[in-house]
Amino acid sequence: MKLKRFLYITAIAVVALSPFVLAAGCLSESDQAAATFECPPDAGWPQVSQVLERKCGTLDCHGDRGRPFRLYGRNGSRLSEGDVVGDTDGTSDAELEENRLSTCALEPELMNAVRTEDAELETLTLLRKPLLLEAHKGGRVWLEDSPGYICLSSWITSGSTAVDGPACEAELSLP
């Protein structure tokens, strides 16, 4: 009976402590080192950011600073003290840069792979979610031929080619 009790208590202890043991075992130096990744250039980004701010960056979605893929913007959360929601000054340069990094940092390794053509564009969660290829609380935002989707994807692959400005403008002109 004593042995049975001992085994029972030991089993509970193992189950309770296993997450901590596993977590400690998984950490390595490489996990703590800063990773570098390539983010698409900032040429054309202000227009792309404007599209994302309008479509995704409202306060009840990615304009909420606690959410992954956080976007700042004139009508979403603001970055700097002194700026308030709805300011007429518009999205600041610092906010634009934060948005660019936030967009890349969602899946930095995959973004690198897409940029070097080692992965398909549609593998990015950034594009899969608005197409509703995977679950998205905000539902389907775009189809593959929507101007907003063309605008965003043209920025991701930009460098040798430019951001598709007319597509971005077309998206921004929608009601």
Binding site: M1, K4, R5, Y8, R54, T58, L59, D60, C61, D64, R65, N75, G76, S77, R78, E81, D83, V84, V85, G86, D87, K137, G138, G139
Partner: protein, 193 residues
């Protein structure tokens, strides 16, 4: 014998703990943060003006009925004067509109059964200013600058007071009090106390 008792008791204890707490600690905290009801204001259309209605009436909390959208309209950007009779018109992504007036506590709500809207939503607010010396009631219309993508609880973004880093501030009718000004309805069941 004790071991057998423990085996029986443990699942029961776990079940009781799980049953006693809710599924979302974030929403539980939001509901708790609303605080108690104000003395003298019964639960109903006039209670908790300015608070996030959908914390309880959004399908998660115990509030009934469930709302698609609900909030409070104030007179100006920073005061606590509720506006009665403001007309809030919501249009969903299918083009279906629904209009509802605010009551004397400034509160308005659209029940989900009556209008199960397809997000995103466009919202406009039309306020009638207090009757002037010529017997006229001038109307002011504001259209929300962004769409509502998922959260129909107006106060979850439009927190009371002016605009901040992460809130456009409360929903209001005019920048400055008109002449004659908006006033608190003294015989209203809700509103400021």
């Amino acid at each position: 014998m004790k071991l057998i008792q423990l085996r029986v008791a443990l699942p029961l204890i776990l079940a009781a703990v799980a049953g006693g707490s809710c599924l979302s600690p974030i929403e539980d905290e939001e509901i708790a943060a609303l605080g108690p009801e104000v003395d003298g204001i019964p639960e109903g259309p006039f209670h908790r003006y300015g608070q996030n209605c959908l914390a309880c009436h959004g399908g998660y909390g115990e509030g009934s009925p469930t709302f698609t959208i609900a909030g409070t309209v104030f007179a100006t950007r920073t005061d606590n004067i509720p506006v009665q009779g403001a007309v809030i018109t919501v249009t969903d992504s299918l083009g279906v509109s629904y209009a509802v007036p605010s009551n004397c506590a400034g509160n308005f709500y659209i029940e989900a059964d009556a209008y199960p809207a397809a997000f995103p939503l466009r919202v406009e607010v039309e306020c009638s200013l207090p009757e002037n010396a010529d017997g006229e009631r001038i109307k002011r219309r504001s259209v929300m600058g962004t769409r509502i993508n998922r959260d129909g609880g107006c106060a979850s973004c439009h927190t009371q007071g002016g605009a901040t880093l992460d809130s456009p501030g409360q929903v209001f009718c005019v920048e400055e009090q008109p002449d004659p000004p908006f006033e608190v309805e003294s015989d209203c069941e809700g509103g400021p106390r």
